[in-house]
């Protein structure tokens, strides 16, 4: 048999290799090195962390290829980068840079108010955000090889990450418990592809790896998401907006491995310095809620 490069198995497979790990947002090659040394399984290369995107306002776009390339040169772990929802040309550019994963992200300003990128036509795998099972399965239907629950990025408030993870798991449980004849209506109601609804029911979980994101700022937050059942965590502003990024990063990595060991969680949570300041999600105006972006 001929070798087949970049199949759905290898796209999905890289996410499987990241499980039980922490993916950290970094804005410089120096940050990337600190993240790698702290034990990150991958880094997300971007110009501004979500907390700064919130503070600065304006249109948030794909990062400068020069910055992404510098970060790729600096670390041996996989490098991810973000594109705007629906902006398939930004994705073509990131693919030409050979980034390891593309995040079609609600943290950037959407380029299309109705459509996401057709991710099947890319060799580079995609991760996409979701708030519920229907949104997750629509993204997988478009070709996403990894899912992350959205949470509310740049807040340091874990409440939305919990809401979204619980929603996905609750809906999967409902799906697994319902009689066969209800599947089509369930698929219609959650606006998800029927075949993927059937596959999810058969597997008892999403067909791809599912990380948590958006608002994780402490080792306890990370362990909370792991105990709820996600496969790993993205930490955005939580690390490099804190007092001691190297120490906090390493602590969150340990917390994800030992997520069900309270003694170790207590130990790694000691003396981490200032956590990111944070904003309560309940104080956000409707137009500040990034998780609402996505169709």
């Amino acid at each position: 048999m001929e070798s087949q490069v970049s199949t759905f198995t290898t796209k999905k497979g890289l996410a499987q290799m990241l499980k039980g790990g922490v993916i950290m947002d970094v804005v410089t090659a120096e940050h990337a090195k600190i993240a790698e040394e702290a034990g990150a399984v991958a880094v997300m290369a971007l110009e501004r962390v979500p907390a700064d995107i919130r503070a600065d306002g304006g249109v948030a776009r794909m990062s400068d290829p020069e910055l992404i390339t510098e970060i790729m040169k600096r670390v041996s772990i996989p490098v991810m980068a973000k594109v705007r929802i629906g902006h398939f040309v930004e994705a073509q550019i990131l693919e030409s840079l050979e980034v390891d994963y593309i995040d079609e992200s609600e943290v950037l300003t959407p380029a299309d108010v109705a459509h996401h990128i057709n991710k099947h036509v890319f060799k580079t795998p995609f991760v996409c955000g979701c708030r519920n099972l229907g949104e997750a399965l629509r993204r997988i239907g478009e070709g996403a090889a990894m899912i992350r629950t959205k949470g509310e990025a740049g807040t340091g408030d874990v409440v939305e990450a919990v809401r979204h993870a619980r929603t996905v798991f609750r809906e999967i449980q409902q799906l697994c418990n319902m009689p066969e004849e209800e599947l089509m209506t369930f698929a219609k109601n959650i606006e998800a592809p029927y075949e993927l609804v059937k596959e999810t029911r058969q597997l008892g979980k999403l067909p791809v790896v599912n990380f948590a994101a958006g608002g994780i700022a402490t080792p306890a937050d990370a362990a909370l998401m792991m105990q709820l059942g996600v496969d790993g965590v993205f930490v955005g502003s939580g690390i490099f907006k804190s007092g001691n990024p190297a120490k906090r990063g390493a602590a969150i990595v340990k917390a994800v491995t030992h997520f069900d060991n309270p003694e170790i969680l207590a130990e790694v949570s000691r003396n981490l310095g200032e956590a990111m300041v944070g904003r309560n999600v309940t104080d956000l105006a409707d137009n500040e809620r990034l998780a609402e972006r996505g169709w």
Binding site: V5, S6, M17, H258
Partner: protein, 209 residues
């Protein structure tokens, strides 16, 4: 699923999977399916009464760092001196004596590896592999589905170590050294359990010796 011969009862084996990070659940699932008793290893005291240990795929820098932080390197080295260990991808890097990079390794096998040897994720691939050693456990020899994800290559096999599988162009992707096994690819991502059974065979051989 491939039909395989049962030269021994898998229920007699207790295998630990290093569960610091990576594809450990996939390995645990295959082992459970063939009836092996399994243990997740995150701390040194969990390496007790085991017949063998699997180090899964993942990020070798992360796994290495956590193995150092939780004092697992020496217990794993001691275990590998006496009993069977199998490393897949990142696990194979951990078993090697040299990965051309400053990172914690077990150094148990006389092999040198080159990390991310095929390039970045975009070059990850699937191919059929010819692994003659698997004939011991399979009644119907056939190629094995090789899944390579940002995979390493084994660039040198020295001393007691021997080559188990090559790509068609000759590059080395699996090696064995007595009861130690290294694969650059991911049998845990397939539904073909022959390499897992082959590992049980190495455990059995070590027991009998």
């Amino acid at each position: 699923m491939k039909k395989t011969r049962q030269p021994f009862d898998p229920g007699h084996f207790k295998v630990g999977v290093l569960a610091l990070q990576g594809s450990f659940r996939e390995h645990l699932a295959v082992l459970k399916r063939i009836g092996v008793e399994v243990v997740e290893i995150r701390l040194p005291e969990q390496i007790q009464d085991l017949d063998g240990i699997i180090i899964p795929g993942g990020e070798s820098t992360t796994i290495g760092k956590l193995a150092v932080d939780f004092d697992l390197l020496n217990p794993l080295r001691e275990f590998g001196g006496k009993k069977a260990i199998w490393g897949t991808c990142a696990g194979a890097i951990m078993l090697s004596k040299d990965a051309h990079r400053n990172q914690p390794l077990l150094g148990l096998m006389d092999i040198t590896v080159d990390r991310n040897a095929f390039g970045r994720q975009i070059a990850s691939f699937e191919t059929e592999l010819d692994i003659p050693a698997l004939d011991i456990i399979s009644s119907a020899p056939s190629s094995f589905p090789g899944i390579f994800i940002r995979a390493p290559l084994i660039t040198a096999v020295e001393g007691e170590a021997e080559i188990l599988a090559n790509l068609p162009d000759g590059r080395i992707v699996a090696a064995r050294q007595g009861h130690l096994l290294a694969t650059a690819f991911h049998p845990e991502l397939t539904d073909d359990d022959r390499v897992h059974r082959y590992f049980l065979h190495l455990i059995q051989e070590k027991r009998a010796s």
